[in-house]
Structure formats: structure tokens, C-alpha cells
């Protein structure tokens, strides 16, 4: 099966800071893959490459078999991403934002109303449908951003910290949304700091450290946090700073 989302040997530096250092991953259709790692590990940079928002110095990225920086209309209609700020404008109402997002994702007028209604229902946005987005709480704005991203029923989805501002109900709604999309065949790549949360929704959990994927964690078991730290510390032990290496030589 061809990966719907793929990064292969991706490397990138910002000035002299290495952000990605041979980053590899693939996500098959119907699969949910989670990226976990410390702040600055390279998760968001990798997601930005997949969204076409950053051209890497080396390596290649693929979304539905195409370069994400040059997606055709046909493929773009099947893609969605929320990395940092979603496609939400504060002066527009919830419904207006969703209609605009649906049109920008390539939905026809005929399909617009049904898609918006479904998206409002999936993210529980009904009570705020006619409110301007600027009047929503941070959590509800995050729900609106997710609703706007998936209003067209994507086949490949990239999400960065989708539950960071959500209350427990919002977390459940997003979990159901991701599981529902995966059941429909969507490939989902999601980054998160919440190990327990990703273990509930992901098929695979990839540990990111120092700009690359250093291993994967099984989703079962109760010691996920311990295994995560053990993997990161083991990777750290393998990285000998050049100065320390020189000192250590006889």
C-alpha cells in the first residue's frame, strides 16, 4: 500500500540550528500515527514540511503521492492540515468560517450545507454557530479550526497539538473525529505532548528527538511515559558532544 503521508531523509537547519536530521516516516490510509517528543524536537517542523509550508534543505516529502509544495487541485481537495493557526478569521461567524473553509477546500455549492452541518455536529459547535469567531473561548476556537480543516472529509490529515486548549469533552470529540476519519480511510498524522491521549487514538506512536524519529512505542501498557523517557535518554547517551569526545580520547 502506498503511504498517504511520507517523509524520507528530510533535513533542515535554521541558521546553525539543526531542526530536522534525516527525518523518516510514513502513514498509510486509515492509519493514525502520533509524534511525541520534547519541545524543539522537530515535530512541528516536520509537520510544516508535510503541509508544504517549508521546503527542506534535503530529503523528500509526499502527500497522497505528490510533493506537498506543489499539490494539484485534485490532491489538495483530499488534504487538510492544522499546524499552529487554523483557517479561522475572527470577524466571520462560525458558519461563515466553515463555509469559507469548505469552498477553499474545493467543495461545491451543492455539497456545502451538508458538509458544514456535519462538521458543526462533529465538533459540537451548534450553540455558537452564528457567533463571530472572535467571541469564542480558546478551546472553542480550536474546535472551530479543526472543524474547518476537516469539513471536506480529507484523505490525509496533519494535526499539530489538536487538543492543547480543549476541555475533556473537547478531547473526546477530537478523539472520535480522528477515529471516525481513520475508519473512513483517512491517513492521520498527529503531534501531541499527551502520551495517554495519543495512546488511545494512535495505531503507532513515533518518538521524535533531535530532529529525527528515534523509535516507536507500542500503544498498549501503562508505562508509556517511562518507555518514552528511556528511549530519549538512550538516544542522548549515543550523542557524544564533540568537545567531550576529544577530551575522552587518550
Amino acid at each position: 500500500m502506498t503511504a498517504a503521508l511520507r517523509l524520507e531523509g528530510v533535513a533542515h537547519t535554521f541558521g546553525d540550528r539543526v531542526a530536522l536530521d534525516g527525518f523518516d516516516l510514513d502513514v498509510e490510509p486509515g492509519e493514525v500515527v502520533a509524534l511525541v517528543g520534547f519541545n524543539g524536537a522537530g515535530k512541528t517542523t516536520a509537520l510544516r514540511v508535510l503541509a508544504g509550508r517549508l521546503r527542506p534543505d534535503a530529503g523528500s516529502a509526499g502527500v497522497l503521492g505528490a510533493d506537498p509544495a506543489r499539490l494539484s487541485r485534485e490532491r489538495a481537495c483530499q488534504f487538510a492540515q492544522v499546524v499552529d493557526t487554523p483557517l479561522v478569521y475572527p470577524e466571520l461567524s462560525v458558519l461563515e468560517n466553515l463555509r469559507c473553509a469548505a469552498l477553499m477546500h474545493g467543495l461545491s455549492r451543492a455539497d456545502l450545507d451538508d458538509a458544514v452541518r456535519l462538521s458543526v455536529s462533529r465538533l459540537g459547535l451548534g450553540p455558537w454557530a452564528d457567533r463571530p469567531a472572535r467571541s469564542l473561548s480558546q478551546g472553542n476556537r480550536q474546535r472551530l479550526g479543526l472543524a474547518a480543516a476537516v469539513v471536506h472529509g480529507p484523505g490525509a490529515l496533519v494535526l499539530d497539538e489538536p487538543t492543547s486548549a480543549l476541555d475533556p469533552l473537547g478531547v473526546v470529540l477530537v478523539r472520535e473525529l480522528v477515529q471516525g476519519l481513520a475508519d473512513e480511510g483517512c491517513a492521520v498524522l498527529v503531534s501531541s505532548h499527551h502520551l495517554d491521549e495519543v495512546s488511545r487514538v494512535a495505531h503507532r506512536i513515533l518518538v521524535v528527538h533531535a530532529g529525527k524519529v528515534i523509535g516507536s512505542l507500542g500503544t498498549g501498557g501503562v508505562d508509556l511515559e517511562q518507555r518514552f523517557f528511556a528511549m530519549v535518554l538512550a538516544d542522548e547517551d549515543h550523542r557524544v558532544p564533540p568537545a567531550a569526545g576529544r577530551e575522552g580520547k587518550p
Binding site: A51, L54, V83, P86, E91, M104
Partner: protein, 258 residues
């Protein structure tokens, strides 16, 4: 399936309609400029005008009333439309970066070049409606205060032309807002360009400098300076609009690290 252009147009038009910018700038252009124009001519024709004001408004102290109203309107519009267009471009393009939504415009079925061009066209059409309305309101106000409605065709034409050219001159600020990724930075460039224009006019090269041409053509430099504005200079000024929009579209198509 709707075309990417009509989709981008519809979305950008809705964003503009809901904006504070439209609610503030539209009345300033369609009411503020006509009132200022009629008021300036009324002041010019007052007896015992103070020395400074007399030097400034003396040219309008005599002659047909309606013609004077519309000439002042054209002069004010040539600056006001540029300022409004520059601020609008700074807001429309720059906000996507300061609010973080520029990144969300990647991977969409509507390409970024269509979004960038639609932004510019929506702003241009809104400002064009404002300019036409402004000249119309000035004409009606002029007639209401005793102006002669006949024989003002040339002044109406110049006022409309100067306003439209000034709108077009704002289009490079769409590009400036994109490459600076900053509304405030764009406004800074706008202010700087107005200052440079003043210097160019003082040095006597205004008749070939696009940013000076609309106001000189409208009579801000006097009848002699207006007579020096050739059709070729007006054409050069008009070319700035598509050039600026093309630059902005190209910059949006090539955006990265967002």
C-alpha cells in the same frame, strides 16, 4: 465546481465586508472627502482670509464654484485613495502573517496566487466604488450649495481618473506587505514613499514620477504643472497597478517557511 478565482473572490469579499477597515474608511472617502472639498472652497471664498490660508486656497477664490469643488475633490482623492489603498493592502495581506493564517492557506484547493490576486481585486473594486461615490457626492453637494452643474465634465473626469490611478498605485503595497510580513512595516513604507514623492516634486521631476502624477494632474501643483502631465505619464502610472498585483501574486506563490 466553482473556479478557484470565484471562490477566492467570494471569500476575500466576505472578509472585507466584515472588516473594521471598511466601516472606517468608506465614510471617510465618500463623505469626508466631499465635505472637505466643499468646505475648502467655501473657506477660499470667505472675505478676510488669513495670509497662510489665502496662499493655499487663493486659486479657488474665484471662478466657477462646481469646477473648484471637483478640482479640490480630485486633489484630495489622489492622496486619500492612495493612503486608503496602502492601509487596506497592509491589513489584507499583512494580517495573514501577524494572525498566523498564512500557513493555513497552504495545501488548499484554491492556490495562493488566486487568493493574493483576489485580495487585490476586491480592494481595488471597493475603493473604485468609493471614488465614484465620492465624486458623485461632491457633485451633488456642489449643486446643493449653488454650483453650476453644467460644464464640469472635465473636472469630474480628472477627479475620477486621479482617484483610480491612486488606487492602482497602492497595489505594490500588496507585495510589500507580503515580503515584510508586517502591516506596520507596510504602512512605514507607505509613509516613506509619500515623503520621497514630496522631495521628487520639489526637485521638479514629479511629472514623470508615478506617485506624484495623480495629484499634479488634478491640479495640486497649479495649472502649469497639470499641463505637463502627458498621456504617456498617465499610462506609466496606470501600469503600476497590474505590475504590483503580479508581484504580489508571484510572492504568494513562492512563499515558504510559513
Amino acid at each position: 465546481m466553482r473556479s478557484v478565482w470565484t471562490t477566492a473572490w467570494a471569500v476575500e469579499l466576505l472578509k472585507l465586508r466584515r472588516s473594521v477597515l471598511v466601516r472606517v474608511v468608506t465614510p471617510l472617502l465618500v463623505l469626508g472627502v466631499p465635505l472637505a472639498s466643499v468646505g475648502a472652497v467655501w473657506l477660499a471664498r470667505r472675505p478676510h482670509l488669513p495670509g497662510t490660508a489665502s496662499a493655499k486656497f487663493g486659486a479657488y477664490a474665484t471662478g466657477p464654484l462646481a469646477g473648484a469643488h471637483l478640482e479640490v475633490c480630485g486633489q484630495v482623492l489622489s492622496v486619500a485613495a492612495l493612503g486608503a489603498g496602502g492601509f487596506a493592502a497592509a491589513w489584507s495581506y499583512g494580517r495573514e502573517f501577524t494572525e498566523g493564517t498564512a500557513g493555513a492557506l497552504f495545501g488548499l484547493a484554491v492556490p495562493r496566487v488566486a487568493i493574493a490576486v483576489a485580495k487585490g481585486l476586491v480592494l481595488a473594486c471597493w475603493l473604485a466604488v468609493c471614488v465614484v461615490t465620492c465624486v458623485g457626492v461632491t457633485f451633488v453637494l456642489s449643486v446643493a450649495v449653488g454650483g453650476d452643474a453644467m460644464s464640469v465634465g472635465p473636472q469630474i473626469g480628472v477627479a475620477l481618473g486621479a482617484g483610480m490611478l491612486a488606487i492602482g498605485l497602492a497595489s505594490p503595497f500588496c507585495w510589500v506587505a507580503t515580503i515584510t510580513r508586517s502591516p506596520l512595516g507596510t504602512v512605514g513604507v507607505l509613509v516613506g514613499l509619500v515623503a520621497v514623492t514630496q522631495v521628487v516634486v520639489v526637485l521638479g521631476a514629479g511629472s514623470w514620477f508615478p506617485y506624484a502624477i495623480p495629484s499634479l494632474w488634478a491640479g495640486a501643483g497649479g495649472p502649469e504643472a497639470a499641463a505637463q502631465i502627458t498621456p504617456a505619464a498617465l499610462s506609466l502610472t496606470a501600469v503600476v497597478a497590474p505590475f504590483g498585483l503580479a508581484l504580489a501574486g508571484r510572492a504568494w506563490a513562492r512563499l515558504t517557511n510559513v
